[in-house]
Each structure stands twice: as C-alpha cells, then as structure tokens.
C-alpha cells in the first residue's frame, strides 16, 4: 500500500470529496461540550479540537447500538420472515477515529467470527472505512502502549493520518478500502505526493506522536489473573461501581448484546442491542438464581473476560487502552489504576 504527503489544509477538501461521493460519514462533533461520533454533511461540522477523544467508540459503525436481526409478519397462523439486505448497510467512513478505535475491531472481529460467523457484523464492517488520526496528545486515562497499541499504530486502520509540525500530513494507506478513499481525490493522492518507505517523514511522524510509556504489559496482567479468581481485589476495586454499564457501552471492544423483540401488532422485528456484564440481570436465571450475584463478581468477569479468557480463547485482548470506560464512569473507576495495581500484586 502507498503512503502520501498532503497539506493539513487539504484534509477538508478530501473529506468534502468523500461526502460528495455519497458515503455516510461519521466524525467527532462537539455539542454542548461533549464530543461524540455523529453523521456529518460538511467538514465544518467536525470538532475543531483534533485531539479530543469521543465519548463513544467507533464500534457503532459495524456493531450499532440497536440493529434489526430480521423482521416478521404474522398472517393468520402463518409467519413470514424478512432480513436486512447487506446492500441496505450504507458505505460508511469513520473520519478521525483514533488508533485505539481502529485496534478495537480486531477483538470485535474475533468475537464475531471465532466459531459461528456473524455475517451481520461482517457485512457492516466490509462497508466501513476507518480513517484514523495519530494521537499527538494522551490524557491520564490513556494506556494503549500497555496493551500492544500506540498513538501512531496502524493496526485496524484503513488509513492513518499523522499531522506533522511542518504543516504536512502523512497519509498511510493500509488497505484496499483505504485506497478507494484516496482514489476519490486523485489530485491529492498523486504520484507527485507519494512518500517513499525510507522517507524522513516517518521519523518526523514518530517525534510528533504523544509520549506514553507503557505502565505494564498485557502478558503481566494475564499471568496475575491466572490465580486471581478468588482474590479480594475484585471486591476492593468494585466497591464503588454502580453497575450502570456505561463502561461497556463506550468501549471499542465490548460486544455483549441482548436479543429483544420490537413488536407492532401483527408484525415487528427482532433486534439486538448493546448489553453489559455490569448489569445484575445480565446472567440472572428465570428462577431468580444468579451465577454472578454481586458487583464484585461482575467486575471480575469484565476484567477476566478481556484480559484472560479472550486472550486464551480468541488470541485477542479485549482492551485497546483507549481509556473511554474510565472517562465515562460516573464514579471514576480508573481501569489504568486498577490494572496497574493487579500487575503489581
């Protein structure tokens, strides 16, 4: 795949061409002080602060908050079913995602394909192009470098843009989907703007990235978790957790969902919607028995699933270190601190 250099000021022009080509574009938009992914129709709508982390992750492009699994229609005793055509999923561009957003699609894809194939997710992902921007700032909640990522990491990106101090932007095209997006602006992504593999721009990129030394390694965490099931740490850490589920909803790798009915008389849909292991009802049996009866057991599930079960079963870690869960938590459950303390036990 090719790499290019364009001017910072050309980025909006490229985005305009993408919008004009009929792609649905979602990008960070600031409303009343909160920045989140929203559909946009012009580059002017995109949040001015180009380092700000959105509240929610980009997973919604391939795994929406609620989606139709199929619809049904009852006539007399008979039922007919209809399911969404993949063509009805819009070609979507996620503009200015972060590398930790892009990294989240690796564990998500692992969950949705480790055994049975979830072709609803797959069809949406195939129609999603991720344009990530390298991070030049990290905040106190970020820890991508501790879980195998980084502020300039390309994994999972279709395109990675790094704004360089010189006023240039290094555009790394990583996939065919990325190429198709570059092809929408042939004037910008021309031979003349191509960047050779040994270009000094890559060194410039490195120096432009946020500095974020790793605090632990995911292997350390996993090793500690192997013996931690009965540890008092779960109760200690979860004492203040409200079980609100916000952490799961904002997470780029959380894939737990519920299946629900949306009936309208004789017809309706079956939908799936985000769910969270933090909810008491998540595992409760009809009899009232609950295998995870306390917030401590639910917090343990969250951590073990992401850092122990997923690595073992899916060869993927369920965390990209984006820090969203900690930013969203109403009682400041700080995942970085909790993991650091587990790694130091």
């Amino acid at each position: 795949m090719k790499n290019y250099q364009i001017k910072h000021s050309d980025l909006d022009g490229w985005l305009e061409k993408i919008i004009a080509a009929g792609r649905r574009v979602i990008a960070p938009v600031t409303e009343e002080g909160h920045t989140d992914f929203r559909p946009i129709h012009s580059p002017a709508e995109v949040a001015a602060d180009d380092q700000v982390q959105t509240i929610q992750s980009a997973k919604q492009a391939a795994f929406p908050k609620a989606e139709t699994l199929f619809s049904y229609r009852k006539e007399g005793t008979a039922v007919s079913l209809d399911q969404p055509a993949p063509e009805s999923y819009l070609q979507t561009v996620v503009w200015r995602a972060r590398p930790c957003d892009a990294a989240g699609f690796t564990p998500l894809s692992a969950i949705f394909n480790w055994d049975y194939k979830d072709n609803l997710y797959n069809a949406r992902l195939a129609r999603t192009t991720l344009v990530a921007f390298s991070c030049q700032q990290a905040d106190a909640y970020c820890f991508c470098t501790s879980v195998g990522g980084g502020p300039g990491e390309k994994k999972g990106c279709d395109i990675l843009v790094t704004k360089l101090p010189s006023g240039k932007a290094l555009v790394e095209v990583c996939t065919e989907k990325g190429e198709a997006l570059a092809a929408l602006a042939p004037g910008l992504f021309s031979e003349a703007n191509a960047v050779a593999d040994d270009s000094p721009l890559f060194a410039e990129k490195q120096s432009a990235l946020a500095q974020l030394p790793a605090r632990f390694s995911k292997e350390d965490i996993r090793r500690h978790l192997a013996e931690a099931f009965d540890s008092p740490v779960w109760r200690e850490q979860s004492e203040r957790c409200l079980g609100c589920g916000a952490c799961a909803f904002v997470c780029p790798t959380c894939a737990c969902f519920d299946i629900q009915e949306d009936p309208h008389g004789s017809h309706g849909r079956r939908i799936r919607c985000w769910d969270s292991c933090a909810f008491a009802l998540f595992t409760q049996h009809t009899s009232g028995h609950n295998p995870r009866p306390s917030q401590a057991t639910r917090w343990r599930q969250r951590i073990l699933h992401k850092f122990s079960y997923m690595p073992e079963r899916l060869d993927a870690t369920g965390c990209t270190g984006c820090g969203r869960c900690s930013r969203a938590c109403p009682v400041d459950m700080n995942l970085l601190e909790h993991l650091t303390s587990i790694a130091q036990k």
């Binding site: 209809d82 993949p86 969950i111 072709n119 969902f257 309706g268 599930q301």
Partner: protein, 281 residues
C-alpha cells in the same frame, strides 16, 4: 425466503403440530419444519439445545427433547415462567413459531456403547435426558442396563406420564419414579422421597456405568456425593448446565463459566470438568 446473508439469528419457521399438557404449567410442543427442504437437512445430536421463539414475544433456550433417531420433527418441553414461555404456551396447533439450532455439544453416546446407563433426573429436567433415553432405547442392543431415577415435586408434576408408563413396562428398563414427601396421591405406587435419597436407596452399581444427572441445582448438588459414595468416577458423571443464554453461538457474552461458553463448550459437562471451573453456574 432467500437467505440473503447467512444470518445466524434467523430462525426456521416451524408449525406447531401437537401440544401435550404434561403437568400444570408444563407443555410439550411438537414442531415441524414449514420448509420440507430444511427438515431434510436438519440434523442434531442428543444433548444439543435450541432457541425457540414466539414472534412478538422473543426467544427462549431449551434442549431438544425429542431424539435424533425420530426424524421430521423436534420437540421441546418447558414450564411457563416468563414472557416468552407464556407466548409459547398460548400457541395453538397449526400456528407457526421460530426455532434456531441445534447448538452446543452433545452427550458422547457413541462412547457409552456397551456400558450401563444410569439416568437421574429431577422435575422439568427430564427433557434433556429423554432425548438420550429414547436415542438409547431406539438402539437398545448397543447398551447395557438402563436405570432411570426420576423425581418430581408431586405426582401431578411428573412429565411424560405416558412414556414413564411405557418405560416402566419394558423389561429392559429399570424405572424408579419418586415424588417429594407430601406430593404423593393415595394410589401412588412409586417412591416417596427426594431424588438423591432415592438414588442412595436404589444404590446402582458404578461398575462399567455412566451416570447422567440433570435437575435443579440442589438436586445435582446432593446427588453428586451419593454417586461418589457409590463409586462413580468424576469423568463418568455427566450433567448439563443451564446458564442464561441469548445467542447460542458464543457471541452475546452471557453464558460463560470462566473461560468456557456453556453454549459452545456445553451444555454437557462431566463432573471432572466442573471441578476445574469457577462456580459461575
């Protein structure tokens, strides 16, 4: 309908062919595939489960209670307890409903050839076992002694009453039915007592025998030590876990016990396997 994408959440449409009221609040539905081609291609093995749905109400997880040796239909037995099971209970013969499956692992029946089989079931947990029992009885010569100990709260709560009678009359099946103290009727000929106590009383030999135990958690909890005392090894004791499930295919994230997914790695586990798992069931 054309399957535009292979959608694992899209159920088969089934016609309710026969409804049997088994006990108060407990029904068995016999379902036929609306599309004969789907019926032709459908295969499952004993122990597997499925998602059954009443459109407009939602989906519910039960084992497939009919044996794979009986082709063309599937059966489920359930107790009316919530929105979906109430919806399923309201269905009438001839109406259509949804069925998604089969999912999960199976009882390793092929490995049991030549062995004696001891079935211990409590209450509404006879269905997962019934599938195995009929599967075994349909191939009777391949197995040793078949002993069934089945307990329910009261005489009225016993399910599959006709089949119990049939098994009772067969010379090649040892059936013991029991009801909890106080649940008997004046003409009750079976035993009175909790299932684990009856198991202890019957004291089947562990020699070359596999035990299959399904029932409410307390019944399982108290039956395991009895089996142990009788000399059953942990890898000769099989049970099923009934964690809450939604997707059935290892995605929705709610059925796991430690690193194992009940919907994928289960629902059938040996006691030896359970010993190595955290108590999340």
């Amino acid at each position: 309908m054309d399957r535009l994408i292979d959608n694992p959440y899209l159920p088969y449409v089934m016609t309710v062919e026969r409804i049997t009221q088994e006990a108060p609040g407990v029904k068995t539905l016999r379902l036929r595939f609306k599309n004969p081609e789907e019926a032709e291609n459908f295969q499952f093995r004993a122990g597997q489960f499925a998602e059954y749905s009443a459109f407009g109400e939602g989906e519910c997880t039960f084992c497939i209670a009919s044996p794979p040796t009986r082709k063309g239909y599937v059966e489920c037995t359930f107790r009316q307890a919530g929105r979906v099971t109430s919806g399923l209970s309201r269905l009438e013969e001839g109406q259509e409903m949804g069925f998604r499956g089969p999912f999960g692992n199976t009882f390793p029946i092929e490995e049991w050839k030549g062995k004696n089989l001891l079935f211990v079931a409590g209450g509404i947990a006879l269905p997962p076992m019934r599938c195995v029992i009929w599967n075994v009885l349909d191939r009777r010569k391949e197995f040793g002694n078949v002993t069934i100990i089945y307990g329910a709260k009261s005489v009225a709560d016993l399910v599959y009453k006709d089949e119990l009678k049939e098994w009772d009359e067969r010379p090649d099946v040892q059936l013991y039915t029991t009801v909890d103290p106080g649940g008997e009727t004046p003409d009750w000929k079976g035993k009175v007592g909790f299932t684990p106590a009856v198991l202890e009383q019957v004291a089947p030999s562990a020699e070359n025998t596999v035990a299959i135990v399904c029932g409410p958690p307390v019944m399982i909890k108290f039956s395991f030590p009895v089996l142990e005392k009788l000399g059953f090894r942990d890898d000769a004791i099989f049970t099923t876990l009934e964690n809450r499930m939604k997707c059935g295919i290892g995605k929705c994230g709610r059925c796991n016990v430690g690193k194992l997914y009940v919907c994928k790695d289960g629902p059938v586990f040996t006691k030896a396997q359970l010993n190595g798992l955290p108590p999340e069931y």
